[in-house]
Point group: C2
Chain length 111, copies 2
């Protein structure tokens, strides 16, 4: 019904790819599933302790996840608390969306 007809342009393909790239890494998957199981926000330090990779690495991955609004940040003092963005999880494109040509959600608009 809202399936596009023309072949996907490069730009739209890149937008789709940027979504899938966000979950195309095992460490990020672990972080996301970690945040999902504890329903409560977690500080970076807690995530570092639970994930077994370095602090700068965790911070880097959290930034990537936050860029696509897959996680949300709230800062309190010197700490930063991250949590899953449920709204964004549901708007994340599926393989079927790609195949059926549903419009890709433009990366940063999702909250």
């Amino acid at each position: 019904m809202n399936a596009k007809d023309g072949p996907l342009g490069r730009d739209e393909a890149e937008e789709y790819a940027s979504w899938f790239k966000a979950l195309a890494d095992a460490t990020r998957i672990q972080i996301v599933s970690l945040l999902a199981r504890r329903r409560a926000p977690m500080s970076v330090g807690e995530i570092v302790a639970a994930s077994g990779v370095g602090q700068s690495t965790v911070s880097h991955h959290l930034k990537i996840l936050a860029d696509v609004r897959f996680v949300l940040v709230e800062r309190q003092g010197t700490s930063a608390f991250y949590r899953i963005n449920d709204a964004c999880v549901t708007c994340f494109p599926t393989a079927a969306d790609v195949v059926m040509g549903n419009p890709a959600p433009e990366t940063p608009v999702c909250e």
Copy 2:
């Protein structure tokens, strides 16, 4: 209900990631959407002509997509015809699957 409790192990995280990696590239997204719009199988030559990247590159990406059974091949003579694997499109994990801890479909079993 089948949401796991423990934090995702590294192995399972890698399995998930391997799925998302398959669609984490703009060229592959273009190829997939191309195959999806023409409902009919396409030869590699047609895909090359329509995608604007080199023949060896297209062949490489098709192999990656075929490895996760996202596309299926059928060879006729010197040609190879690729088409979308609808069954695999639907079994492709979603972001919600990751968050809810649904078991990741093991990569190559999907047809």
